[in-house]
């Protein structure tokens, strides 16, 4: 088990190490971002954030939908979206697409 007073020191030093490098990564872009469901078919967008239910977001990211990626919205059909990211084509329902925030490129 850890000793408490050393915890405090570690906390402070870690904060110094990471405060500037982590959270603010995509913050400016997030302000202008829109949910990916709002873009028309044919649009080219860049993902700036994937926010929502933890497991589902992790799933999307593991399928390649990551912040910084260029996405081509191939189709909006009925309740589904068809996206192309790198060489993958991914279909997702509009009802769950709101977790992906993007800006037009």
């Amino acid at each position: 088990m850890l000793i408490l007073n050393s915890n405090k020191q570690r906390k402070v030093s870690y904060k110094k190490m990471f405060i500037n490098s982590h959270l603010s990564e995509f913050a400016p872009a997030l302000n202008q971002a829109e949910a990916i469901e709002n873009f028309p078919a044919g649009a080219w967008v860049e993902i700036v954030g994937v926010q929502g239910e933890h497991k589902f977001c992790q799933r999307l990211e593991s399928m390649g939908l990551l912040p910084g990626k260029q996405i081509h919205i191939l189709k909006r059909q009925g309740q589904s979206l068809l996206l192309k990211c790198e060489h993958s084509r991914l279909a997702l329902r509009l009802s769950s697409a709101f977790v992906i925030q993007a800006v037009r490129t």
């Binding site: 059909q77 589904s80 192309k84 993958s88 084509r89 009802s95």
Partner: protein, 721 residues
């Protein structure tokens, strides 16, 4: 090294994203000796193959396709559980060379499992065709594992892979990716706490410490189950400390992996100067188009089902004739020559040979259905079909991929049960298979034909059509009910990858079909054959008694009053036909004939020569091959079906005297909604286990009872009785 039975085996697990060609690669290595089973307790297919190479025995295990080791689907759970509970000697990580970045994310997670690894860049030809190049040597150096390039379907690079498997015995596990200093420090701290704990022997300590930091509850639960140890005390303070820097540590760590992969791909892959046009995009423009997509889908499905049923029918008829005609007759004659008792001869002929024959009649149908479904799946079209149909299916709580099994159900419910395998989520599969039972299968048509010919001659087509529509309506209602009740908590967020179009090779198709057919004959076949023997006992005991004095006759008399609200409980004969109908719907009409004493079971009139009849069977098979071939070219266009029993006979007369138009309609609805046959039972038990089958049996039988009662009672109130 893992030891199995008497001989030591080198256990190699093939892991990778879905659709990267793992199975084809294993097939190429082990020369199609793949065996299929289920992973314990779940309906995910487990494929494995054993082969010997230069005096070393290998066991190759095809892990289900997975994007991440933080499980989202059942397949991913299975993959993770296997790596934890039975760590293999080597992981072959198969990746799609064209999708390096996405695939390498899983590679980094696998590297944390502390198991020696080989990286296989499959589909290398597609990667090169696209004009890309890659410094594979540098990739191997960076990741600390051998890297090979292969083309699974053609077998290119497979020999090198076999040699690499042989040499992998001296391979060390790759060094895992390093995280930010703060995380690494805490990981060491947690691992120090593990010293002396039993569970740390089983799971890689660094990986376990990482899961504690990520709070990956599923993995922790699995370790706790495996080692009966509570893990919640470990890593608590480290988590607390790191939370100040990384509010969502799990995501931050996975982001870290992804950033590493992005950088690696950026450094090592040289893209083409001019990206080449992608024929998948061009084809999608036609097949997913707003106007042409749905018609193309319907046309493809029509051709598939038409061909499946038309090509297989001559073979089904031949197998039926071979078993129930030729084999049963000669077995009977041989047993009579041995002076065996008549009941035993009848049991062998009708129970045993009839049962085995029934199982085998499904083989041609399943063979062609699997062939076409595998063709759709392997070519990449199945995922497109699901995408197209999702817009309709989601309204009923179903997945786009549910459409195909439901449609197959109209032909035969048995292959439809297996067709649900295309669905990734267990919940979707369960809902689909439950509602699929309401699709009116082809074997129910003779029942409608008989009753409509007697009572609804003018509106025959309309009444038969109404049966199909009632089935669909009930299926929709149940899909909505099940999604809102039993499976309420499990609505999966829909995300699906559409793989690029690929030409399937005969080898991959054959491997997939052969495996499934063998498994059907072995598992579902046993249930079906045993049930046929039981049915024989019901229909024939006490032996030689008239129909009303058999076990079936007595039971039907006792049960008949239950069906008074449905309008057909006044006489015992309709009720007697229900049970054999449960064995096979084809038997309803036949049993009605027997119990109403208007037709006798077939009897043997003469004793022809064995040689002549054998020759007849062989030429019959030859004719079936030709007829099947002719069906491919001539039967693409729809043909109207010919209704049997459309002429007046003793049976139609007896039916007219037993039923009224309303009770006949109610009887048809009852049979429509009841489970099709014992073969469906066999398939469902094999795929979903006895418990879920019990649930399906309950809802189908309950619905059939209630719906036919509503039909009869409402009809009576409206004055149609």
């Amino acid at each position: 090294m893992t030891t199995s039975a008497a001989q030591a085996e080198w256990v190699v697990a093939f892991a990778g994203n879905p659709n990267v060609g793992k199975t084809a690669l294993i097939n190429a290595i082990a020369q199609s000796r793949l065996k299929v089973g289920n992973w314990p307790g779940v309906t995910v297919e487990k494929k494995q193959a054993r082969f010997q190479y230069q005096n070393t025995n290998f066991q190759l295990i095809d892990l289900p396709g997975t994007y991440s080791l933080s499980p989202f689907t059942l397949e991913e759970q299975v993959c993770r559980d296997f790596l934890l509970a039975e760590p293999p000697d080597l992981i072959v990580n198969v990746i799609d060379a064209s999708n390096l970045e996405k695939s390498l994310y899983l590679t980094l997670q696998l590297m944390e499992m502390d198991i020696p690894m080989l990286l296989v860049l499959n589909m290398w030809d597609e990667f090169e065709k696209r004009g890309y190049s890659l410094d594979a040597v540098k990739l191997a150096e960076t990741l600390g594992m051998p890297v090979l390039c292969t083309v699974g379907p053609t077998g290119q690079g497979v020999d090198v892979l076999k040699d690499a498997l042989l040499q992998s015995k001296d391979l060390a596990a790759p060094a895992p990716l390093l995280y930010p200093e703060a995380v690494e420090k805490e990981l060491l701290q947690i691992q120090a706490d593990f010293v002396g704990a039993d569970f740390a022997q089983g799971a890689p300590p660094r990986w376990l410490a990482l899961k504690l930091l990520e709070q990956d509850s599923y993995s922790l639960k699995k370790i706790e189950e495996l080692h009966a140890q509570n893990l919640s005390d470990f890593g608590h303070s480290s988590r607390e400390i790191l939370a100040t820097v990384f509010p969502d540590l799990g995501r931050s760590l996975s982001r870290h992996r992804q950033q590493y992969v992005s950088q690696l791909v950026h450094d090592l892959v040289i893209p083409p100067e001019q990206p080449k046009s992608d024929w998948t995009d061009l084809t999608d423009r036609l097949l997913l188009n707003e106007w042409t997509g749905i018609p193309a889908f319907l046309a493809i499905l029509f051709v598939v089902f038409k061909l499946t049923f038309d090509i297989s029918t001559p073979f089904i008829d031949w197998i039926d004739g071979f078993f129930n005609g030729f084999l049963a007759r000669w077995a009977g004659l041989s047993l009579e020559a041995l002076y065996l008792p008549a009941p035993l001869i009848s049991l062998v002929k009708e129970g045993v040979i009839g049962g085995v024959g029934l199982v085998l009649t499904f083989v041609p149908l399943l063979f062609f259905l699997y062939l076409f479904l595998a063709l759709l799946e392997e070519s990449g079209y199945m995922a497109r079909a699901a995408f197209l149909m999702d817009r309709f299916m989601y309204r009923f709580g179903l997945h786009g991929k549910s459409f195909v099994p439901l449609l197959v159900g109209f032909g035969c419910n048995v292959p439809a049960v297996y067709a649900t395998r295309a669905l990734e989520s267990e919940t979707d599969r369960k809902i689909t298979v439950a509602v699929m039972s309401f699709m009116s299968c082809g074997a129910k048509l003779p029942i409608y034909a008989l009753f409509t010919a007697v009572f609804f001659q003018r509106q025959q087509a309309l009444v038969i059509m109404s049966m199909y529509l009632i089935g669909v309506a009930v299926a929709i209602i149940w899909a909505i009910i099940l999604r809102k009740t039993r499976f309420k908590a499990e609505i999966p967020a829909f995300v699906m990858e559409l793989p690029p179009y690929r030409f399937p090779t005969f080898k991959t198709l054959w491997a997939s079909i052969g495996l499934k057919i063998r498994s059907f004959v072995k598992q579902a076949g046993t249930v079906i054959a045993i049930s046929m023997i039981l049915l024989w006992a019901l229909l024939n005991l006490p032996y030689g008694a008239p129909p009303e004095r058999t076990v079936l006759g007595y039971s039907a008399r006792a049960v008949a009053p239950i069906f008074l609200p449905q309008g057909f409980g006044e006489r015992w004969e309709p009720v007697a036909a229900i049970l054999p109908g449960f064995m096979a719907k084809e038997m309803v009409v036949g049993t009605l004939g027997v119990v109403m004493s208007v037709q006798q079971p077939d009897s043997i009139q003469e004793t022809p020569a064995l040689g002549a009849e054998l020759w007849q069977q062989i030429s019959g098979l030859k004719d079936a091959v030709f007829a099947s071939g002719a069906a491919v070219v001539s039967n693409i266009l729809p043909t109207p079906f010919v209704l049997e029993a459309s002429t007046e006979s003793a049976l139609t007369q007896a039916v007219r005297n037993t039923f009224t138009p309303l009770s006949a309609f109610s009887y048809m609805v009852f049979n429509l909604l009841l489970l099709s046959c014992i073969s469906v039972v066999g398939a469902m038990v094999q795929e979903f286990g006895g418990r879920y089958f019990g649930f399906v049996l309950l809802i189908t039988t309950g619905t059939a009872y209630v719906a036919s009662m509503i039909v009869f009672q409402v009809g009576r109130l409206m004055g149609w009785g």
